[in-house]
Every structure is written in C-alpha cells, then in structure tokens.
Amino acid sequence: MAASAARGAMALRTNIGRPVAFVRKIPWTAASSELREHFAQFGHVRKCTVPFDKETGFHKGMGWIHFSSEEELHNALQQENHVIDGVKVNIFLYREFSVYQLNRSEV
C-alpha cells in the first residue's frame, strides 16, 4: 500500500491543465522560432521547444508550444490547418505527465 502510494505521489506530479500543444510533422526546415512565429497569432507563446537530435543534427518533427492560457491553446487547436514552411503540421492537446519522476529516488 504505502509503496504504491509513494510511487503514485511521485509519479503524479501532474501538470495536467497546463496549456500546452503538441505539434507533429514539423518540416525539417523549421525550428522553434518558426513555430513560435506561427503560433504567436493565437496568443502569447510562453515557451516553444523543438528538440534536436544531437546524433543527426535534425529534429524529429515534434515540438511543444506552451501558451499562457487555456483559451489561447484552444484558439490554436480549433484552427484546422496549420501550415509551416508550406507543410501542414499536426497539432494536439498535450497531456504532460512526468513519469520520469518515478522511482528516481530508488534507482
């Protein structure tokens, strides 16, 4: 019981509800600043990350946009087409949870 509770508590430092959009199929020509530029039309972009693979020098086509409010996020989600550098990207609501937290103290 206690163990599972401990794990649960550690695992579920959830950030559910943070207004974050997950973007896929980003063309290789675009990086975070292009994404930020595009999504700025929907609201204030607090943070925008497009992680690059240091092994290849390319990103993997995925990125995260942190808006400052739920409303802005929904503005972005509601628009059907998002075209960056002439390529249609896909955008989703991002449910973030840091599973990485789990067991950190044990391992």
Partner: protein, 1394 residues
Amino acid sequence: MAALLRPACWLLRAAAAPYLPLSLRLLAGGPGRPHAALCLRAARARPAAGGLLSQARLRSIAAEKKNYLQEEPASSHRRNASQFDWALMRLDNSVRRTGRIPKTLLQKVFDNTCHSGSPGGNQALLLLRSCGSLLPELKLSERTEFAHKIWDELQKLGTVYDVSHYNALLKVYLQNEHKFSPTDFLAKMEKGNIQPNRVTYQRLIAAYCNMGDIEGASTILGFMKTKDLPVTEAVFSALVTGHARSGDMENAENILTVMKEAGIEPGPDTYLALLNAYAEKGDIDHVKQTLEKVEKSDLYLMDRDLLQIILSFSKAGYPQYVPEILEKITYERRYIPDIMNLILLLVTEKLEDTALQILLACPISREGSLNDFGSFFLRHCVTMNTPAEKLKDYCTKLKEAQLHMSPVQFTLQCALVTQKFDLAKVLMKALKEEGFPIRTHYFWPLLVGHQKEKNVQGIVEVLKGMHEIGVTPDQETYVNYVFPSFDSIKSVRAILQENGCPHDDNVFSQAELRSKAVNGNLDYILSFLESNTLPFSFASLRGSLILGFRRSMNINLWSKITELLYKDGRYCQEPPGPTEAVGYFLYNLIDSMSDSEVQAKEERLRQYFHQLKEMNIKIPENIYRGIRNLLDSYHVPELIKDVNILVEREKTDSRKTSQPSLSDLESKLEKLKAENQPIRDILKQLILMLCSEENMQKALELKAKYESDMVVGGYAALINLCCRHDNAEDALNLKREFDRLDSSAVLDTGKYVRLVKVLGKHGKLQDAINILKEMKEKDVLIKDATVLSFFHILNGAALRGETETVKQLHEAIVTLGLAKPSTTLSSPLVTLYLEKDDLPAALESAINCYEKYKILPRIHDVLCKLIEKGETELIQKAMDFVSQEQGEMTMLYDLFFAFLQTGNYKEAKKIIETPGIRARPTRLQWFCDRCIANNQVETLEKLVELTQKLFECDRDQLYYSLLKLYKVNGDWQKADAVWNKMQEENIIPREKTLRLLAEILRNNNQEVPFDVPELWYEEEKDSPTSLPSPVEVNLQKELLNACHRRRNKDAFNIFLTAKKQNIVFDNEAYARLINLLLMKDNSTQAMQVKDFAETHIKGFTLNDAANSLLIITQVRRDYLKDALTTLKTALDLDQIPSRLAVTRLIQACALKGDIESIHDIQKLVNGLEDSIGLSRMVFINNIALAQIKNNNIDVAIESIENMLTSENQTVDPQYFGLAYLFRKVIEGQLESALEKISIMAERLANQFAVYKPVTDLFLQLVDSGKVDDARALLQRCGAIAEQIPIFLVFCVRNSQRSGKAPVMKSLLELIPELIDKEEAYTCLMKSYVFDNDVASAKALYESLTAKNVKLNDLCLKRYAVLLKNAGESVPFTEPPESFEFYAKQLKESKETHL
C-alpha cells in the same frame, strides 16, 4: 501481389510451378524465363489482386513446411519456420509495397539470419533471390557481390545448398548481367555433387545468349536434347536475344518461325525479347512495327514490358525514342512501383535525364497536392552523386510540373543527411536566390558529421561556408556542435581566428558562458559576469545557470553569482526587476531538481538561502509560495522557513493594513496582563501569528515570558514551528513542557512525525524513539501517508549516510508495530550502503531483512550494481541466497532483470533461455511497469524480444506494455512496428491491445490498418428495428405498463424474457425501465438494462433524470469513478444533471480526499452552476474537506482565509457558509482539524471582522451537541451573539426537521436574547410540536406570555393542537381557521410590512 511469396513457392517446387514469379520475371530484364508458354498465359490472365495472396501463401508455406519435415530434425523445425516467416514477411512487405527491397533491409535480414545460428535452406533461398533486380538502387556489380557474400557466409554457417540455390544464383547473375563462365559454374555444381536440372540448363543458355555466344548456347541445347528435356518458350526467347546480340537480326527474327514449327506459339516473352533486341540496335521502326503486330494479335504487353523496352533504348544510348514508348504506357496504378524502380535503376546507371523524363510523364494527381512526388528520385540522385547543377535543374522542372512543392528543400535535406557539403552549399544558395531564408540549423547535420570524427578542419570549413552564405552561428551551434570537437574553447577561438573564420564576439562569449555553465564551471561564470561588458539578459542564461548550479557544489559561488545578477545593473534591472527574476530563478532551480536531489542537498540549499539573506536578496511572496509547495511535495518542509526569510515583507504588510498587527496584539496582551485579566487566548493568538510568520525567535521569547499562560494549542504550534526550523533542542523542550501541562494531550500525527524526523536528524535517537513509543501508547492514527513519512525519514537519513539513525528508527517503528516492515519501508536499510557504494554491506543488509522480515528490499538495485562492478563472488552469494530461500526461478528472474537493466542483453538472453524456466506474469509486469515509469524504451523492447520463446509467456500483455510506453512517447512508428511484430509472432491480440494501438495511430494522425474491435451487435442492430413483430409490440406495452405502475420486478422480468427471445425494445422503453430501477435503488439491474440497450440500440443514451439517478446510485455504492464518467457523459450530451446528483458526487469525492476529481467536476460544470443550482460554496467546502482528509489542513485553511481576506472575493463573506465543512469535521472527529479551523474562524472574526464562519462553527457545535465547546467559543468571540440573521436562518431550517427541539433549546440557552425574535420562537414552537414535547412547549408559552410577547395566530394554533392531542386543556381560544389560513395570513402581513 504476393510478390515474394509466389517466387518462393515456385523455387521450392522448381519442377512443377503453377505460376510464374511475376515480380522477379518482369523485372528481370531480358531472357531467363524458365516456364512453358501455357503456364505463362494462365498466370498473366489473372488479375494481380490481393485475393491470390492468401492462397498462394498457404501453398508456399505448406510446401515449405513439407520440405522442412523432410530435411530438418523435428525439434528445430518450428523455430526455423517461424523465423523464415518473419524474414519472408519483412521482405515480402517491402516488395509488395514498393516492388523493391532497400539494401539496408536485406542486410538486416541477412544479419539476423546469420545470428540465428543455422539458417535453413529456405532462408538462404530467400536471401539469394533478393539480390537481383529487387535492388534497383544498387549497381549491378554490387548486387552480385552481395549475392556472393550471402552465398559464402551461409555456407560457412552450414547451410546445405541444393539445386534450387544454384538456380537462384544463376538467376541473379542473369538479372545483374554478371559475366561468368557457364562451364565453371557447372564444374562448381559438380564439385558440390549437385545435379543440374532443366532450369539450370535454361539459365545457362540464357547466360550464353546474353553474351551473344550462340555456339555455347547450342552446346547446352544439344545436351538438353540428349537428356530429352523439353525446350520451352524461355529457351527460344533466349535464343532470340542470343542471335541479336551476336549481330544476326535475321536469325533472331527467324526463331519465331522455328518455334511455331516446333509447336510452340511465341508468347509475349518472345516478342519482348525481340523488341529489346531492336531497341538495343536503336531500331525504332521495327519496334513500332512489332508492337503493332502484337497489338493485333491476341497477346498484349503490360506496362512492365514496355518499361523494359525503355530501359533497353536508354542503356543502348537512344533516349530520343523513350517518349514514343512512354506514350503507350497506361500508367495503371499497380505499375507505379515498377515505374519508380525503373527510374531508380536509370539513376543508378547514370541515366538520370531519362529517369526525369519518365518521372515527369507520370500522371500523378497534381491538384492541391501537399503530397510530393519525386522525392525518391531526388534522394537517389543525391546518393548517386548527380552533379549539383543538374539537380538544381531537376528541382526547377519538378516544381514547374507541380509534382513537388519544395524540391530544393528536400534535396538539401538529402544532401545534409549524406554529408554532401558542396551540394548543400549550391542548394542553399539556390534557395536564398529564390528568397527562402537559410537557417542556422541547416548546418547542424554537417557539423554533426565532422563532430563524430573530431574533424576540426571540416568544422572550420562548415563555419566558413555559413559565413559565405550569410548565416551567423548562434549559441546553440557553438555549444552543441562546435565546442565538443575541440579540446578547449580557447582553442576554438584561436583556430577560428587562424583560419580567418569570422565570428560574432557577443554570441561566442554567450556560448562559451553557457558551455561553462553546463560543465559546472562557476568560477568562470562569476568572473565573466563581473568583467562582461556585453548586453545580456538573465532569462537567456537561466537554463544554463541552473545546470551549472546543479553540477557545482560550491555554495559560495552560487550565492556570489546570484548576488551579482540581483544587484548588478547589467543583468536584471529592467522590469519586472531583480526580485522577480531571482525569485523565479530559485523556483526553477528547485523545480529542476528531483525530490531526492533536494533531500540530499538540503543542507547546501539552506546555506545558500541564508547567504542570500545576508546579501539582502529578496523574492516576492507569490513565488515563495510556489517554492514552498515544491518543497512540500519533495518532503523537505524543513527548508521552507529558510526560503521564507527571503520574502519581501514590505509589500505583504502594506496589503494587509486592516489586519491588527503584531504590535497591536502585543500591546493588547500587555494591557490585559496589566489589568490582570486572562491572557491565554490572546497569547495563543499571538503565538499562532508568530508561527505563521515563521518568527521562531520571538515566539519562543513570548512563550518564555508568559509560560504559565500557555495552552496546549500554543505548544503544538510552537513545537511544529521549531521542527520546521530544524530546532531539535527547543522542540524537545517544548514537548516536555507540553507533556507537563497535560500528559494526556495528543499531538496530531503530522507533528509527531516531524518531531521524530528532527530528533532523528540531530542524533537524538533515544528521544525520537520515545516519541515513537508515545505514538504507540496514545494510539495515534497511522495512515498510509504516515507510513510514507516514516519512509521519507529513513530514506533521508540513509541518503545522509546516518547508519545508526536508519537502523534504530526502523527497528523501533517495526517492533512497535507502527508500520509493517514492507519492502519500501525497509529499503533505506539497503539504500544506506548502496549510497556509500558498499556493496557487500548492502547485500548483507538485504539478506538480513529477509531473515528478519521475509522481504528482500532493493535486491534488484543491489544486483544491478554488483553486475556493473563485476563483483562475481557477491553475485554468486546473492544468487545462492535467493535460490535457497525463494527458489531457483525467483533467482533467475532477479538475475534476468538485473542483466536487462544494466544492458547486458546477451547474458539476459542466456538466463531467460534456461531450460525449464516459465513465465511469471506478475514479475514480468513489475519490470514492464518499471520500464514504463522510467521511460526505458530499449530495456523494455529487449525484455519483449528476449521473452519471445519463454514458456507460457503472455506475449500480448508484454506488447501491450510496450505500446503503453510508445504511447507515452507518441512513437507511432514503433507502435506500428509492434503491430507487425505481433503478426510475425502469430499472436492474436486482445481487444484492449488493438484499441490502444488504434489510439496511438489515431493520435498521430495515422491510418489504422485494421478494424478496431467494436461490439458484436453492430451488424445486427438494424434488423430488429425494421419490422417489429406483434410479440415485440405486446411485450413492450407490458413493460411500459409495469413501469407506469412502478412494478419494478415485473418490468425487469419482462425485460429478461424479451432478452432471451432476442427482442429489442425502443429507446423510450429502456429509459423508463432504467429510471424505475434506479428509483428503486436497483442499480445492478439498471446497469444490466443499460448495457443491453447500449449494445443493441445505436446511440442509446440515458436522459437527464436517469443519468442523475444513476450518479446518485453509483455514489451510494461508492463507484465514484463510474459516477464521474456518468456525469461526463451526461454533460457531453448537453444534459443538466440534478443538483442533488452533482452535490452528492462532490461530497463523496471530498470524503475520499479526492481533490482531483472535485477539480474535474468543477471544470466539467463550469458555466452550468446556475442551471444546475449549485452553490459556489459546494466546491469551497468540499475541496477544503478533501484537503483536510488528505491531512493538508494548513492548505485548506490558508485557501479559505485567502478567499475571505483577498480583495477580489468571489463570494460575499456574508454568504460564505462553511457549515457543511464544519459539520463533516465535527462528525469525523478530526480534532486537530477542528482545532485549526476554530483558530481560523476566530482569527477571521477578530482580525477581519468576518463573522459568518465563526457563527457557522458555533451553530454546528450546537447542532452536534457540543454545547460546552460552543459556549467556550462564544465566550472567546462575543460577536457571535450579534449574528441574529444567521441564527434565524438556522432556526427556520431546523424547525422543518423533526428531532431538532433539543438543538433549538440549547441554542436559546446560549443566546437567550434570541427568544425575543418572532421567527425564533415560532420555529421553536414548531419544533416542539414536531417532537410532541408538551412540557417544553408549555414552558416556552409561559415564558413568552410572562414577557408579554404577543404570539401570532399560527403559533397559537400549533400550540393549541399540541395540547389538544395530549389531552390537555387549551388556556386560550384556539384560532378557528386552518393552519394554511394562518400561514398565508402571516406571509401576507410580512409582505405588507416590507
């Protein structure tokens, strides 16, 4: 098309194949067609539909298995067969989709085959066969080389070749136009003791013919004749080629006549041979003529054949004739892969212009296409080193033709992937000319390439190239891609300067700083920041600084840097200013650390905060709160006070000017003391206030000064304060004084635990143990959270390396029975040594635990470390122990997981292949969950891979776990691969697995390649509704009837009868039945009906009322998750659930302490509160209650206080009813919560003049019979007595319920002046009447008349009826009219008063 399968089938049964291998044959190029014309035509006539696949496949597999049974021992048969299937599947998939096999895939299958040990004959065949025209991206010579490599390698591994293998090799030679000596080949076969067969001879003839050697071909032909082997069309076709290539076109043409004479009609293959022969000579006229001739005959040529002619023309140097043939191509969809392969082949042959011509001729839909066509061509051109200028031209043409939207960008990407810098430069310049921006990250792939080889010169070249194109490297470029290749950053600067490579000093310096920060070089950072003259934003530095701080333990430097940033005008002076910036930095710093890291660095962080305090650095209060919450969640509340000292006080104080300040209270205290009045309350209040401000020094002084007036509550708060401040000495003394004051007094669990923690930490072990003993003696409530706290205490000590503390406290906790010696609780005993890297002791400790408690904490971690360190002897010891105590199987699993975890997959494989080992689902699941939690993709993949053959292993479950992990990472490609793997393994997936897979694919906008399992009714649902039979109609009527009469049992029985007969009613009938059942509280039956209706009527939903009832029932049965789902469903359907349902659900969640669900509900009903009729207080009350249930009393209290004291109040304090919360706290006997709430309510009343809470509390105390407490409260807070309106509402409410007379009586005793109010005495009378309390009613009447109060008629009427019913006389004239009359009269008179 089962492209590979059919050939496989054919090869297996080389002598009598029913079909021709289409893909191989048609891509073959030229002769080499071994089969009779009759068979050929039959094969051609068939459409290349998928329907054939299964049939053909079945046959091939059947054939293959038969073969195996003959040639392999039975034991290895199954394994090899499945492996064959797997390889086949992958290659077949590739051929089916694209008509080709990528070299990497073939290489992979080959490596895997070799790895498997002894590859079977079929696998060898499959691999060899793939080395021909299925590899259009490889040069002909390379393909043959590959085939030879496979041949030799497999032979070494013991594969036995038969004639089919030799024939396959021959075929590859022919396809690859490999020059070889047929006689040598025959000699080789002879040496291998293999008899050539008809196919061998045919192919050898083709080989001679390809070289134009008719003589050679004739020899073999003669040989065939002596053996009486039939001469097929394929031989004649080869001869056509042979004569043509020897320059004798006339004889080539004559072959057709010879054939006819021999009784064989020339088929398309023969004509194709002829056509190719003409094409090789550039004879377009004859080609055209022949084509016309074929068209007129009953034969026809397919696109593939025409493509072959195009290839011949192009290779022979006559590209000018290509368009004429292209015209004849029909571009059937299924031949698109063939066209693509031809294009690739042409590029490989350096005939890329022709390739482009064909590409441009492709009728690809160009409308609104975001789909690009031609990428494969561009990519292959880049691979084959097509000149840059040509590629640029191709891009322009592709774009003009609207085939490709961004060809240059794509080509550039290919150039970057393949590290072709010169090409990339040309393309970038082209892009720039077209007005596209060239971005810094375009150069990163190039830098990565050089970085891997530490090629400094290469990097310099790239940087120069960047400059040439006008791109300035940014910080990231330097930090991630340039610096790592150099020994030092200094040398970078030097080398760049040496090579005339310009760089922006500002950017470079920032990059250098970041790079140093990441390496924890804080000395450098400090000196840089001090001497820096460049403009710099703090924000740009934050991320790196945090990493730097975490990697350096020099707290002085931490502080110095923070101070510099805070005070130096260069860094964070612009708004919002240094307070915010540094506050936010501290928050981020702590947030970026894990809980164990913060625990381990607690002392250092404390030192840091205190140094900041010394430096007079301040942070805003809101950020402090955030940090406090973080620290709380990390289980290091001791640090909170150390952060608190940094809070900027001035602002806080100005905000709360209305609140009586400390000094007010102090002077009040002095005054009371001077007047010799009781000071206990005010003293307690003052101490609590000091505690909330974390002012320990003053609180202690105050206590010392007025020690005799201290009460239990004050001590409790003080003890807690000292614990928070890590002040063990005073905490202990206070605890002793507390005990002296009242030895029976009990602290709440949290305070005890904190005491134990602080005492333990300061080495006062015996005192800590005494506290534990007291907890046991006083029977303090131990919750899961308490056990968790024990764990954190022990774990903290273990991380600090305090052996004795861990051991003794653990011992005490366990022997006292405060907590069970679970694996978690005992793990610190092992952690202790693991942290010190003392592996023998760690193992010893784990074994000790087993001996004492039968648990083995952290054995997995111990083993992992032992393996990492290579401690063979200790591993042996551990394994012997586990094996002896828990059995060999457990030991094997322990070892297996440890090897997996440490990446020793080979060893893991050996373990899991131990004979006799079988699947242990719970252990496997444990490891899966662990991998998922730690996001260890590779480890989990390996687990799944290695357990493939594990006996009784639930493969589906393992793949399900793997999918779960992929879902977390959004990795649909891998999820898709799992789908394929499952097919390979012939696993039948469960529905949940398929659903999960479908979900992953859909989430990533991928097509779901299978039918997502739906419920079985789908197909049936339409039939019954179409024509209801009379029986159905009657039954439905009966059902509705029964519902109407509320006869739930009957109604349900009708439902069951109908169900048995498979009769489906309409929506309405089910809805009514469900409503009825729910009303009768028969939720099981209701759910049964609901399930049935849902599975039989598409879109069946419950209505508002039913859903509300359902929620209530689910709540009553404690199915809260279900109830929440029901609520969601209802709201999704735009229904308005009833207030009762929503309230019940919220309350139930609160009682469970489930705050999250309450928040969810709040979000769900957001905006609907008024329609539902929810009061705002429902959420406030229940969230607070839930927090209290979770032992977060302080949080609850604080948020309520904030709501009441902040400027923008959502609820008017007058209506801020907390009665529900109070009642629940009182009912639940949550004493410590009650105490705190009471303090809060009093504080609100005394300091903020908010009286509603304290009055509510007072009333709830009265209501629950705690009259003494209520009286005490009233004495402390006299203002309660003035809250008459609240009392009246309370009276009216209570008078509507029976049994409340005593409560009303107590209230009147406490607040006697209430009796003067008409509402009050009316209600009181009503209550007495309700409860038939004649005596009290009489007393009331008398006291009222004595006071000359004139009672209203309604009241008199009630009293009169009561007396009459009791058989007593009525001392006044009973009002003659009815109750209703007087009630109405009273109401009207009140209205006129208004």
